[in-house]
Amino acid sequence: MIIPRKKNYKKAFRRYWQLYLMVLPAIIAVFIFHYIPIYGVQIAFRDYRPSKGIWGSAWVGLKYFIRFVNYPNFWRIIKNTLSITLYSLTTFPLAIILALMLNEVRNVKYKKFVQMVSYAPHFVSTVVVCSMVMLFTNYSNGLFNNIRAALGMDRIDIITNPDFFVPIHVWSGVWQGLGWGTIIYIAALSSISTEMIEAARIDGASRLQVIWYVNIPCILPTVVIMLILRMGNLLSVGFEKIFLLQNSLNISASRVISTYVYEVGIGGGQYSYSAAIGLFNNVISVIMVVFTNMIAKKISNVGLW
């Protein structure tokens, strides 16, 4: 083993300075816009006053974390957040199923066509997806209610009903992300050797058996990785979509951690409290990733690190 000495680094720098120079702008930008805010997270432990700045504000320890846990709606917010992420976790296998189905299509042109169409919603913005949800579910003139009316069913109010909030959020997300989500599995499926599949076929395996005993085991590592990443997001529901779909009538189901951070931080100007909630969320997410990674490694020997 070679132990690098200072001199070696000097030599390396002299030799590769142009390479270091090329990565420098990215390092600076990420440092400023990513690392400085991480450092600034200490306001969660301080009583931040804009006039005093971050360093001038007094330390208050865990005051704001305790305040959040004691907040009367604390459990409701946690429950809302979890019910959205857990519900959407149940849709996790859909992209795998779609990828397996696409993988079985023999007609290349048809396959390409289905793929291309399935990617389209990914390029539609969140604002547009949410507007479409609202336009379509409008009580008196939305497409969904018009179809119900045409079929002789009653019109129903959806966007203002807390009970429908989670399904609406999750299924519009499925529409938007399903096709795009298959790409990674299709890539994994395309790396399975055709010999293995042909051998299974010659041994008399049916198409479904090939999928079950060859294709799925082969893409399992990819599936596990995607699942670990997903678990890390169990407490972080994206802010953007919830915020757009939120209204005063469905707030009991739609107030989640990230929208609450916005409410008290940007809306209410309580910077320290809001930063504490954000940090709470981030820490739990990281713990979740580490924990899932540990379990995944024990069970399947696949992990992120």
Partner: protein
């Protein structure tokens, strides 16, 4: 291998299900298009399902008369072009450097970027940083940010590692080329496809983003398209509801109703105008981005 009967049944069912799914993906978008060109009244009363009903361009006329939309459109083009260029200038050379296995300190630099995928300061510290840099309420806040998505950096690095043979670099080194020279003369000319993918990924991000603008910009003249859309499409939900409360004579009511129907139809037209550029562009770059995601995922 000859197709057996069960094979044919399998294929038929599979293809049929995929066809239905395709319909589910495309129909909402298709409906937006036909609703935007239909007679507003026909849309509101639920007569439009398969084809446009009584062609009308009122909705589009309304959109063209709306200044806010065009200001937003212009701003978004500006943010998207400058922002994407900024992203590419940061990402591509960085990825090239990180693709050099021999480079001392490569792992440390990579870890530096990796960490950003899991840890962040969160909404408030990010806001305060921009405030202290005096970026709030300027157009620059929507262009200059961290500039590097770790995921895109990995995909690009992977591309350089897998697609540019080391022999080329070695030959150039013997000829006395510098690292910068190799980047510009060897790596860049061979990376058209990854440049296309990264341009698309970053541009889509800029075009569709409203989060930064919502947090950091509250001057209307700097609003990007998505924020204008949000104000038109989501904040004024009650164009229809307001008529019911008006107790005015029948004629005025009819006029008000007609105006409200057009306002509703306008929403479909706005959605179409805002989404069309990306929906028209992506199929052309599609074969590249699928490859892009694949090169990135092979390592995973």
């Amino acid at each position: 291998m000859p197709k057996s009967r069960t094979d044919r049944i399998f294929d038929t069912i599979n293809n049929l299900l995929l066809f239905l799914l395709t319909l589910a993906f495309i129909y909402p978008l298709y409906f937006i298009v036909i609703a935007s060109v239909s007679e507003p009244y026909a849309v509101a009363t639920g007569k439009v399902f398969y084809l446009p009903e009584g062609l009308s361009w009122d909705a589009y006329k309304n959109v063209f008369e709306n200044k806010q939309i065009w200001v937003g459109y212009r701003n978004t083009i500006f943010y998207t072009v400058l922002g994407t260029v900024y992203n590419l200038i940061l990402t591509i050379p960085a990825a090239y450097t990180l693709s050099k296995r021999k480079l001392p300190g490569r792992t440390i630099i990579m870890t530096f970027f990796f960490i950003t995928m899991y840890f962040g300061g969160g909404m408030i510290p990010a806001f305060l940083l921009r405030k202290s840099l005096n970026l709030i309420n300027t157009p620059w806040v929507l262009i200059i940010n961290s500039g590097v998505s770790c995921w895109n950096l990995i995909v690009t690095r992977q591309f350089f590692e897998n697609n540019i043979p080391d022999d080329l670099y070695e030959a150039a080194e013997i000829d006395g080329a510098s690292e910068l020279g190799m980047f510009f003369r060897i790596a860049l000319p061979l990376s058209g496809s990854i440049l296309a993918v990264m341009t698309l990924f970053y541009a889509v991000g800029h075009w569709n983003s409203y989060y930064s603008a919502l947090l950091y910009v509250n001057k209307q003249k700097y609003y990007p398209l998505q924020l204008v859309l949000r104000n038109i499409l989501i904040s004024n939900q009650n164009t229809m509801a307001t008529i019911d409360t008006l107790s005015i004579d029948a004629d005025a009511l009819a006029v008000a109703a007609q105006r409200a129907y057009i306002a509703e139809a306008m929403k479909y037209a706005v959605i179409f105008i805002a989404s069309a550029p990306l929906l028209i562009a992506y199929p052309f770059v599609q074969k590249y981005f699928v490859k892009g995601v694949m090169t990135g995922s092979i390592k995973g």
